[in-house]
C-alpha cells in the first residue's frame, strides 16, 4: 500500500494553531531590527483585532509573559477554515513553518524532543480505503491513534444532537401549524355550509363534494408549501449573513437542500389534505336540513 504522507508545513501549522492562539493574541506589532525574520501567516480576525498588516514584524513566544519571544514577519493574512465547534470564538491564529514552530516551543512543549508534532494529516490516493489504512497504521504503530477524517467522533455527535433538537422544535411547530390549519379549514368549510346544502339538494353525492373540497385543500396545501419553501429560500441568505456577521465567520448556518424541500412537502401537503378532509367531513355528515337551515 502506498502511503502518501502530506507532512511538513501544513501539518505543523495545524498543530501549532491551537497552542499559539494565546501567544498570537498577545503579539505586539513592533518593528524589529533583525534582518528578514521568518515568515508567518496570521488569520484575518487576528489581523483586524491587533491592527496588523502584511509586512509587519511581530514577536511570538510560547510563554505568556513574553519571555523567549522571537521576531517574525507577517507574510500574509488568511481566512481560516471555519470550525463549527468553535464558531463563537474568533480564530486568533498564526501559522508557522514547522522548524520555526519547533524552535519556538522547544522542549517545553514536547517531552519527546524537538522533532515531535501533534498530528500528521494524510491524503490517500484512494480515499475510500481510509478505514483500512487507519486500522493498518494502528496495528503497525502501537500507541498511535489513526482514524479517518470522516469517522464519527465527539464533534459529529454534537451536531447530531443539535439536529435532533431542531427536529424536535420542528415537530412542535408542525403540530401547532396543524391545529391552526384545522381551525381555519373548519371556519372556511362552515362558511360554505349553505352552498354545500344546495349542492346536496341538486343531487351531488357526499363523496363527490368531499373529493372536490379535498382537491381544493390539496391545491392550497401545495401552494402554501411552495410559498413556505420560497420564503425559506429568500430568507436563507439573510439568516446566514446575520449569523456570519454576528460570529465573524464564513460558516453557512442555514441551507435549504433538496432533501429539506422534499421533507417539507411530504409533511405539509398531506397535512393540508388531512385538514380539509376532517373539516369537510364534520360538515358533510350533518343532515341535509341542518345544512340549508339559516
Amino acid at each position: 500500500m502506498r502511503l502518501p504522507f502530506r507532512t511538513g508545513c501544513a501539518a505543523a501549522t495545524i498543530a501549532a494553531a491551537a497552542s499559539l492562539l494565546a501567544v498570537a493574541a498577545r503579539a505586539s506589532a513592533v518593528r524589529v531590527a533583525e534582518e528578514s525574520p521568518p515568515a508567518i501567516l496570521i488569520s484575518r480576525q487576528l489581523a483586524e483585532r491587533r491592527h496588523l498588516h502584511a509586512g509587519d514584524a511581530v514577536r511570538l513566544g510560547s510563554d505568556p509573559s513574553g519571555r523567549g519571544a522571537r521576531p517574525f514577519r507577517i507574510a500574509g493574512i488568511y481566512e481560516p477554515t471555519p470550525d463549527p465547534m468553535h464558531f463563537a470564538q474568533a480564530p486568533l491564529e498564526a501559522r508557522l513553518h514547522l522548524p520555526d514552530l519547533l524552535a519556538l516551543t522547544g522542549a517545553s512543549a514536547h517531552a519527546d524532543g524537538p522533532d515531535a508534532v501533534t498530528s500528521i494529516n494524510v491524503a490517500l490516493i484512494d480515499p475510500a480505503g481510509a478505514g483500512e489504512f487507519a486500522r493498518e497504521v494502528s496495528r503497525r504503530l502501537p500507541g498511535s491513534l489513526a482514524r479517518p477524517t470522516s469517522a464519527p467522533d465527539q464533534r459529529t455527535r454534537t451536531f447530531v444532537v443539535i439536529e435532533r433538537f431542531h427536529l424536535a422544535i420542528a415537530v412542535v411547530t408542525v403540530l401547532g401549524s396543524a391545529v391552526f390549519l384545522l381551525a381555519l379549514m373548519v371556519m372556511l368549510v362552515d362558511e360554505r355550509r349553505a352552498t354545500v346544502g344546495i349542492l346536496r339538494l341538486m343531487g351531488f353525492t357526499r363523496g363527490r363534494i368531499l373529493t372536490q373540497v379535498v382537491a381544493e385543500g390539496a391545491v392550497i396545501a401545495v401552494v402554501g408549501a411552495a410559498g413556505g419553501i420560497l420564503f425559506a429560500l429568500v430568507t436563507e441568505g439573510i439568516f446566514n449573513r446575520f449569523f456570519q456577521w454576528r460570529y465573524d465567520t464564513t460558516l453557512v448556518f442555514l441551507r435549504v437542500t433538496p432533501s429539506v424541500v422534499w421533507r417539507s412537502l411530504a409533511i405539509a401537503v398531506p397535512l393540508g389534505i388531512a385538514a380539509s378532509f376532517v373539516a369537510s367531513w364534520t360538515l358533510l355528515r350533518r343532515q341535509l336540513l341542518a345544512l340549508i337551515r339559516r
Partner: protein
C-alpha cells in the same frame, strides 16, 4: 362586563373554532415559553454550577478558556501569596490531567491489577478507559463531594483517590480497591509509568459529563501522573473571598499583587461564557421566540378576522339595537384575550414538560456537565412570556376591531337581508 360577556358568548358558541384556536395558541405558547427558558437557562445553570463549589473568583495564566491555556507556574507559592491577602478567605489549586486506566483490583487485592483497556465493566457494558484526574490541595475544600467512603488523605502511605460513580460502577471498585492510572501528558504518554492509587471513596464531581470517568486526588498525585514533570504547576486557582470584602475586592487585590495573571469573578466568567460560548443558544432562542410569537399572533388574527367577517350581520344587528361601538369593539378584544389567555395558561405546563424533553436532547452533547441545564425556569421568563402574549393578543385583535369599528350598520343589514 357586557363586552366580556359578549366575547364569552362568541367563544362558547363556536366550540370547534375556539377549541382549536386555544390548542394552537397552547402549542405555539409552549414553544415560546421554552425559548424564553432557553434564552437565559444556560447562564443561570452555569452560574449555579460555578457557585456550587463555594469559590467566587478564578486565577488563570491567560484569558483563554480554563484548561485550554498554559498552566500557572510556582502554583503553591502563588496560592500562599494570594491566601495571605486580607480580602481572601481560601485558595484552592486545581490541576486536571488526562489519564488512562492501566489496571484495577478489588479491595481484597485478590484479582491483582489487571489491564483494563477498553474494559468490559462489571455492569456488563464496555467502557472507555480514559480518566480525567482532578488534583487539588487537600487542605482546602476539594472540588468533589464524597458520597461513600472517605476523602483523599494527603499523608497516606500510598497515594489515595476518590472516583466518580460511573468509574466505580465500571470497575466494581469500592473503598479499599486499587486502581492504576497512566498519565497522558504531552507526547510522552506511552513512556509514562502507571501510578497505583488506593480508592478511598466514591464522590460526585460537579463538572462531570454523563460519560466521564473521573478521579480526584492531591495536586502532587496529578504531577506524579505526568512523570514528575511540571511540578508545582496548576491549571487554575480558585479563590474564596471574605464575606466582608466580596469577590470584586478580592479580584482587585490579586490583580494588584500579580497584574500579569488573568483574574475573574464567577460573574465575569458567566458573562464571558454568555457572550461567547452560550451565545448560539441565546441567538437561536431569540429567533425561534420571534417566529413563534409571530405565528401565534397570525393564528389569532386570522381566526378573529374570519370569525368577524362571518358574523358581520349579527354585529350590525347588535349595533342597531343599541350596543355601542365601544362595547362591540372591546368584545373583540376580550375574545382575543380569552383565546390567547386560555391557550397561554395551558401552554405553561405543556411548555415545562416539553422543556424537560428538549433539555434531555441537548444534554446529549458530549462534554456537557451533568449538572448543567439548558432550560431553567425563572420568574422573569414567566413575566416576559405573559407580557409577550398580552401584546400578541392586543395586536391580533387590532385588525378585526378596526373592521367592527368601521362597520356601516344600515348597509350591512341591507346586504344581509338581500343575500
Amino acid at each position: 362586563m357586557r363586552a366580556f360577556r359578549l366575547a364569552w358568548i362568541s367563544v362558547v358558541r363556536q366550540p370547534a373554532r375556539s377549541g382549536l384556536g386555544i390548542l394552537g395558541v397552547a402549542a405555539v405558547g409552549a414553544l415560546l415559553f421554552d425559548m424564553l427558558l432557553l434564552s437565559h437557562g444556560l447562564v443561570l445553570s452555569f452560574r449555579d454550577l460555578l457557585n456550587e463549589g463555594g469559590f467566587d473568583a478564578r486565577v488563570l495564566a491567560t484569558d483563554m478558556v480554563p484548561f485550554d491555556g498554559p498552566r500557572l507556574a510556582h502554583a503553591s507559592r502563588l496560592a500562599a501569596q494570594i491566601a495571605a491577602l486580607p480580602e481572601v478567605a481560601a485558595v484552592q489549586q486545581v490541576r486536571v490531567v488526562d489519564a488512562e486506566l492501566a489496571g484495577a483490583s478489588d479491595p481484597s487485592g485478590h484479582e491483582g491489577l489487571t489491564h483494563t483497556a477498553g474494559m468490559s465493566g462489571r455492569d456488563g457494558a464496555t467502557h472507555d478507559d480514559r480518566v480525567q484526574f482532578v488534583g487539588n490541595d487537600m487542605r482546602v475544600r476539594p472540588l468533589w463531594t464524597v458520597v461513600e467512603g472517605r476523602d483523599v488523605e494527603s499523608a497516606a502511605a500510598e497515594p489515595t483517590v476518590v472516583v466518580n460513580r460511573r468509574l466505580a460502577r465500571a470497575l466494581g471498585a469500592s473503598p479499599g480497591s486499587r486502581v492504576a492510572l497512566r498519565g497522558r501528558c504531552g507526547d510522552a504518554a506511552d513512556a509514562l509509568p502507571p501510578v497505583t492509587f488506593v480508592v478511598s471513596g466514591i464522590a460526585d464531581f460537579p463538572f462531570d459529563a454523563a460519560t466521564d470517568n473521573s478521579a480526584g486526588g492531591t495536586i502532587e498525585s496529578a504531577a506524579r501522573l505526568c512523570g514528575g514533570e511540571d511540578v508545582d504547576r496548576a491549571d487554575m486557582l480558585l479563590v474564596r473571598s471574605r464575606d466582608e470584602a466580596g469577590p470584586g475586592a478580592a479580584v482587585a487585590a490579586i490583580r494588584r499583587l500579580r497584574p500579569d495573571l488573568h483574574v475573574v469573578t464567577n460573574e465575569q466568567m458567566v458573562a464571558q461564557f454568555s457572550r461567547v460560548e452560550f451565545s448560539y443558544f441565546r441567538e437561536i432562542s431569540s429567533v425561534l421566540a420571534t417566529v413563534t410569537l409571530f405565528f401565534g399572533f397570525l393564528l389569532i388574527a386570522v381566526l378573529l378576522t374570519v370569525s368577524v367577517n362571518q358574523h358581520l350581520g349579527e354585529i350590525a344587528t347588535l349595533r342597531a339595537v343599541g350596543l355601542s361601538r365601544g362595547r362591540v369593539v372591546s368584545g373583540i378584544l376580550w375574545e382575543s384575550v380569552l383565546l390567547v389567555g386560555t391557550g397561554g395558561i395551558l401552554a405553561v405546563p405543556v411548555g415545562l414538560v416539553l422543556s424537560v424533553w428538549l433539555d434531555r436532547i441537548l444534554r446529549g452533547m458530549p462534554g456537557i456537565p451533568s449538572g448543567l441545564h439548558f432550560f431553567v425556569f425563572e420568574p422573569r421568563a414567566l413575566g416576559l412570556y405573559a407580557v409577550l402574549l398580552a401584546v400578541a393578543s392586543i395586536g391580533a385583535a387590532a385588525y378585526p376591531m378596526r373592521i367592527v369599528a368601521a362597520l356601516p350598520i344600515a348597509g350591512t343589514l341591507r346586504r344581509e337581508v338581500v343575500s
